[in-house]
């Protein structure tokens, strides 16, 4: 059952719902716009899913302060529009913007887009949060200024909390001035290893790469920022550094389009299962072979700091958790079945302790 906030937009009513669930032995799961469907789904009868999508609106935007505060149900597309008008942006390329992703859902999923490479992921841009804890209290953490070291960093804790540590109601984000332009270099590499070698070589180059993506066909996409003349020089230097000629260079609309499709994960559209797994360069060679064997489509993101795995076969899907476990990796299931986090999860004991502390009555859904 999905409840909506059509009648009562007051924060108090959400708080009451949480308390009501706690008193009646039910679980409460806040959901956004369901752009990451598995995160909005849970196979239990006792869970009340609660749509936060109408709890929406920008509370405060101070371009000069590099901060924006909005209610959790606010669509990222709305934020983007406001920011663009002031020449600012969220550098981590939030996902599913066109699909209607909300700010709260984005934070709770904890998954950044391709642009996280240079300035940091969404964890690095969350400054403050307000959320409803398991006791039905409104709790604040962090602040509304770009620098703050007071108290426990609850904003970061909420990143990737998957709606299981509290109901996000208000979020303050840091924003940055947007670059004056972009250029993308695309190289088809002879093998996955060749592409990975290029990535490790780029890691030592003192040129700011905004994003590095690698697809399953060993195509490498490098994004740089600046005025056209600057990026032209940078592109030359990158080519020299990698010893690569040929390939393609994109500017303007074509360029922007490719990256916004990347943040929509359009390449995975229609596929039944989709998982995001953090990893490093060294994990890839072995993992990629296994993923290929089970017929997975792969997209390596943020200079191979994460892989998107898309699948269609239920048999392959059943195999994936073991494969990740074996590689000592874990992932968040965006589309799929069963557990929301699959693979190896070492910090569970600490996670459970923190969850019990925030939610002593267990009104939120457990992680596993």
């Amino acid at each position: 059952m999905i409840q909506s906030l059509q009648i009562d937009h007051e924060l108090r009513s959400i708080v009451e719902q949480v308390k009501h669930c706690a008193e009646n032995g039910q679980k409460f799961l806040p959901i956004g716009n369901k752009t990451k469907p598995h995160l909005a789904r849970v196979n239990r009868d006792d869970v009340q899913r609660f749509s936060m999508a109408s709890w929406s609106g920008v509370i405060e935007y101070q371009p000069f302060e590099f901060t924006i505060t909005a209610k959790s149900g606010t669509r990222i597309s709305e934020l983007k529009k406001l920011l663009e008008a002031e020449g600012q942006f969220l550098p981590f390329d939030p996902l599913y913007v066109r699909g209607g992703a909300t700010l709260g859902g984005t934070i709770a999923t904890g998954v950044s887009g391709p642009g996280r490479l240079l300035f940091g992921g969404l964890r690095d841009f969350v400054l403050g949060v307000q959320f409803i804890d398991g006791l039905g209290h409104l709790v604040r953490g962090g602040g509304k200024v770009v620098k703050n070291a007071a108290g426990f960093d609850l904003p970061k804790l909420m990143v990737g909390s998957l709606g299981r540590l509290g109901v996000l109601t208000e979020i303050t984000m840091k924003v940055f001035p947007a670059p004056t332009g972009y250029r993308t270099l695309k190289f088809g590499c002879s093998s996955l290893q060749a592409a990975l070698n290029h990535i490790s070589s780029l890691m030592l180059l003192p040129i700011d790469l905004v994003a590095i993506e690698l697809d399953g066909e060993s195509n490498l996409y490098l994004r740089i920022a600046g005025k056209e003349a600057t990026t032209s020089t940078l592109a030359k230097r990158i080519r020299e550094h990698l010893g690569l000629s040929g390939g393609e260079e994109w500017l303007g609309e074509e360029e922007t389009q490719w990256w916004s499709e990347a943040a929509e994960l359009s390449w995975s559209e229609g596929m039944r299962y989709l998982v995001r797994v953090p990893l490093t360069l060294q994990d890839i060679e072995k993992l990629d072979r296994r993923l290929k064997q089970i017929g997975a489509v792969r997209r390596y993101s943020a200079a191979a700091n994460a892989v998107w795995i898309a699948l269609d076969s239920p048999l392959a899907w059943d195999e994936l958790p073991f494969l990740l476990q074996e590689a000592k990796l874990r992932g968040v299931v965006v589309r799929g079945e069963g557990n929301i986090i699959i693979g190896s999860y070492d910090a569970l004991s600490f996670a459970h302790r923190v969850q019990r502390a925030i939610d002593p009555k267990s009104v939120f859904v457990p992680y596993q």
């Binding site: 000069f64 904890g110 998954v111 950044s112 996280r116 300035f119 940091g120 964890r123 690095d124 804890d133 006791l135 409104l138 709790v139 604040r140 953490g141 200024v145 770009v146 620098k147 070291a149 007071a150 108290g151 426990f152 960093d153 609850l154 970061k156 804790l157 909420m158 990143v159 990737g160 909390s161 998957l162 004056t180 890691m203 030592l204 003192p206 700011d208 005025k227 600057t230 020089t233 940078l234 230097r237 995001r276 797994v277 953090p278 490093t280 360069l281 700091n305 994460a306 874990r330 992932g331 968040v332 986090i341 999860y345 070492d346 910090a347 600490f350 996670a351 302790r353 923190v354 925030i358």
Partner: protein, 493 residues
Amino acid sequence: MTLQATHITDTVDSHSLIRELSQIFPAERLLVDKATLAAFESDGLTAFQVLPRAVVVPENDAEIVDTIKLCQKFGVPFVARGSGTSLSGGSLPHREGIVIALNQMNRIISIDPERRIAVVQPGVFNLSISKAAEKFGLHYAPDPSSQQVCTIGGNLAFNAGGAHCLKYGMTSNHVLAVRVVLADGEVCELGSASLEGAGPDLLGLFVGSEGLLGVATEVTVRLIPKPEAYFTVLAGYDTLERAGEAVAHIIASGLLPGAMEIMDRLSMKAAHEAVGAKYPENVEAVLIVELDGSRDSVAADRLRLEPLLQQSGASAILVAASNEERLKIWKGRKSVFSAVGRLSPDFIVQDGVVPRGKLGFALRQIEQLSREAGIAVANVFHAGDGNLHPLIMYDGREEGALERAEELAAKIVQLCIDLGGSITGEHGVGMEKRQFLSGMYDEASLNCMRRIRLGCDPNEVANRGKMFPSGEAPALSLYGLHPLEEAGVIARE
């Protein structure tokens, strides 16, 4: 809901505790002699001095686990300590507690240039990481002023900042993974070598938790390429406010400098006397702006910055023509804290944050408060992120001088709260600012933080008495005798 923890410290038999500690540590790494302990009685906040019961110097994780378990068994508080440079009293010992000195755990375990990570022990100096990574053209970005001596463990516990936070973020943005001994002795790994995570960001919670959740024993940090080029410029202004306005213009232009710092006349005087730093004559404030990045990006940004500075009403503009000149500018800036010691026998440094747009107002208010109190205040601050560092000067030998200085400090912290900022940008709450935490967070929020603490440490042995305004350690009173002083727990000498 009451969250008062049960403390059983008073019943502890010191002899049995020390006896059990001596089964873990050889005599040379278990310090109990008062003269030796004196070296640990204070940190960077020298107004407080407390002798701990003992200091242990572990060399491995197992010794830390055993020590913490012992502390839990006896209900004795512990505090982990690196170089003791905390400016908030974060590593101040507890009178009945143990100091876990991590100075021997100071190995750089590995530098992995391909993955751009370094794995280090907590006692490694901040700057040592950058030095070790230099041969790969990489560095560790957070650069607190004390980076030559402060340790990564302390940086992590207090989420240390530095001059480059606006563009690069703080410690928490550069720590990727950590092995932790939680406050009950359980060991767990948080985060991974990847930049990304899956599931709740427990690492994010741990960084900046001021030693209240446990002790980091191994830290994986992110390295980034050392900027290939810098453009560093120092501009002089007739008033602090003008310097502040220049910052506003630069921000409004869409530039993102690596650093923007302001120093007032007193700070300049201190830096000049300490390290011979040179500043334009007859100016009230200087603004340091630094662009960094690839040489092509810096060259392009420089063309945007220069006209802005020229139009900003600067009476002098000095461009660092060489790396030596750039380093001199930074040497002057980073020397200010210690240099103020030459101008005044004692000082308190605050590190509140105000929204950038309210910097000018905040500085005028501070000036007025300083005048009213008749206490000199030097201002040096991270203008790019609104992080103030008023240095409140006093002579501790004068009766009531510290109390008056603290009273002024309290007013400045309150000003930051009132302006919608923070009580601390990078020094942490520690001992010093506990009573102000409730000015930032209401009861429900503090209660939630406290439940997290108690979930990991029901006896509150990990850095007991810090950060939280309530609990066993009473709020730091700025008027009259400190309650802990009355109780004989702390002393100001």
